[in-house]
């Protein structure tokens, strides 16, 4: 009797999760792990900030790509300063379900869609990051968005903001901005900014009076900087 009560309570509390987990709880004999796949579509909404190749991770609750107010990981620093997603994906691979690199740069006004598959779990989440390349260390992305409750065929659309990795001063000098506006250095291990992730204040540009800035007014941006559509395919 007591057990029944507990079971009923658990059913009530975990009701929404069970909807996605029911494949595992059936009584048939072919209990292979269910697979899920998600389409991630990212549209660049900026005027003149190409987005570096995406670093995409589908993971469980033990992973987070960044945390506002905390120091960026080395991988996030490399992505945010130089547009290189290799180290960030490598870090994630240690404790994550699936990692994937985008196919290339997403130009302003353009979109990229990719499909990522994973084993179904009750706490599946999706993260991705990409650099706004005509900046010192600006990035945008999603950090640990819960996708476990999504029904097959359903979609979520989000507008996302720009973050500052906090690992490089926003000097906008040509030597420090790797994108086509400047062609300067990408990743530099020296951390000469506040060393914590936060909202990006935007770029100033030489058109607005920042002496020595390699950027012009077209490189300015306001939030949101990208539109994201997540669709659960199966």
């Amino acid at each position: 009797m007591d057990m029944l009560k507990t079971a009923t309570l658990a059913l009530i509390v975990t009701g929404p999760l069970l909807l996605t987990g029911c494949d595992h709880n059936d009584d048939d004999d072919n209990d292979t792990t269910a697979r899920v796949s998600y389409e991630l579509k990212v549209t660049n909404l900026t005027a003149a900030q190409p987005l570096s190749p995406l670093a995409v991770v589908v993971h469980d609750s033990s992973y987070g790509m960044w945390s506002v107010g905390s120091s960026a990981s080395n991988g996030l620093e490399q992505l945010s300063e130089g547009g290189d997603n290799t180290e960030l994906l490598s870090e994630a691979a240690d404790n994550s379900v699936v990692t994937m690199s985008g196919g290339g740069v997403i130009a302003p006004g353009q979109s990229e869609s990719l499909i990522i598959e994973a084993d179904e779990t009750s706490d599946l989440a999706l993260s991705f990051a990409t650099m706004l390349v005509n900046t010192n260390d600006a990035f945008t992305g999603l950090n640990a968005i819960d996708v476990s409750g999504m029904a097959a065929g359903s979609s979520r659309q989000l507008l996302i903001r720009a973050y500052d990795a906090g690992t490089e001063a926003n000097s906008e000098q040509a030597s420090t901005v790797p994108g086509p506006a400047a062609g300067g250095e990408g990743y530099n291990p020296t951390r000469d900014d506040r060393d914590s992730v936060g909202g990006h204040p935007g770029v100033v540009t030489h058109d607005d009076g920042l002496s020595g800035s390699a950027l012009n007014e077209s490189h300015r941006f306001d939030n949101p900087v990208a539109q994201v559509t997540i669709t659960r395919m199966q």
Binding site: N44, T46, A47, G109, D207, D208, S218, R220, D222, P224
Partner: protein, 233 residues
């Protein structure tokens, strides 16, 4: 007799199907900018799959006419063609910074999505808009933040020269009369020719020259530029 039955059936059909599922909406739109005006608004309830614009795609010529000159007639015709329920120009002119307009919209059952747009003045091709929002069905009050978009159809030169026709360079006017004159132009190119988030205006502090006829301490904005409140009655 038979005729009368048919007439009665037709009448009953009209009474039962349309009003039973139609919604009465009260809509408020507030201009949150510091010194920018919204030209006459077009608000439409329409079936899903219809759009004024879509982010990351090219603007239609009718969206361009709205964004560059505030002309909503083309978009209105587009929406009438798909049997949308429309409210045109509820303000009867410009919606000033800080001002709110409130109006009613009755939408038929199949017109369950809402779009709206108005040009932001003074800009070259900036507009405030909503693309195909799913209208809530449960009675209540719903709040949304709206962004400023760039139609991607005209270089943001920020030169006020009265030009509002599609394809003509320049800004039609500054209704608030805070503009300068004699600007050389901020830029001659548009780097993103798809509809995107507006990067904001640059402006300058030179009233009789400089690169921009806009005032950097008056005409800048940050998103969101408007608030939308939908009350489902």
């Amino acid at each position: 007799m038979q005729k009368e039955i048919f007439r009665a059936l037709a009448l009953a059909g009209a009474l039962v199907t349309t009003p039973a599922l139609a919604q009465d909406l009260t809509i408020s739109i507030t201009n949150l900018t510091h010194g920018s005006y919204f030209t006459p608004l077009l608000v439409a309830a329409h079936a899903g799959g219809n759009h004024f614009f879509q982010l990351g795609t090219s603007a239609s010529t009718n969206l361009q006419a709205m964004a560059e000159g505030g002309d909503i007639s083309g978009l209105s015709t587009d929406m009438s063609a798909v049997n949308a329920d429309l409210v045109e120009n509820p303000v009867g002119g410009l919606l000033a910074p800080g001002a709110t307009t409130t109006f009613d919209l009755t939408n038929s059952a199949t017109n369950d999505h809402l779009s709206l747009a108005a040009m932001v003045l003074p800009t070259n091709d900036g507009f405030v808009g909503v693309d195909s929002l799913s209208i809530p069905t449960t009675p209540g009050t719903y709040h949304y933040n709206l962004n400023a978009y760039d139609a991607g159809t005209e270089a943001n030169d920020e030169v006020i020269n009265g030009a509002g026709a599609p394809g003509a360079a320049g800004v039609p006017a500054d209704p608030g009369s805070h503009n300068g004159t004699g600007a050389t132009g901020v830029t001659t190119s548009e780097t993103n020719t798809h509809v995107h988030i507006h990067r904001g205006v640059l402006g300058d502090s030179d009233q009789s020259g400089g690169v921009s006829d806009l005032d950097s301490s008056v005409h800048r904005w940050l998103n969101p530029v408007a608030s939308l409140v939908i009350t489902v009655n």
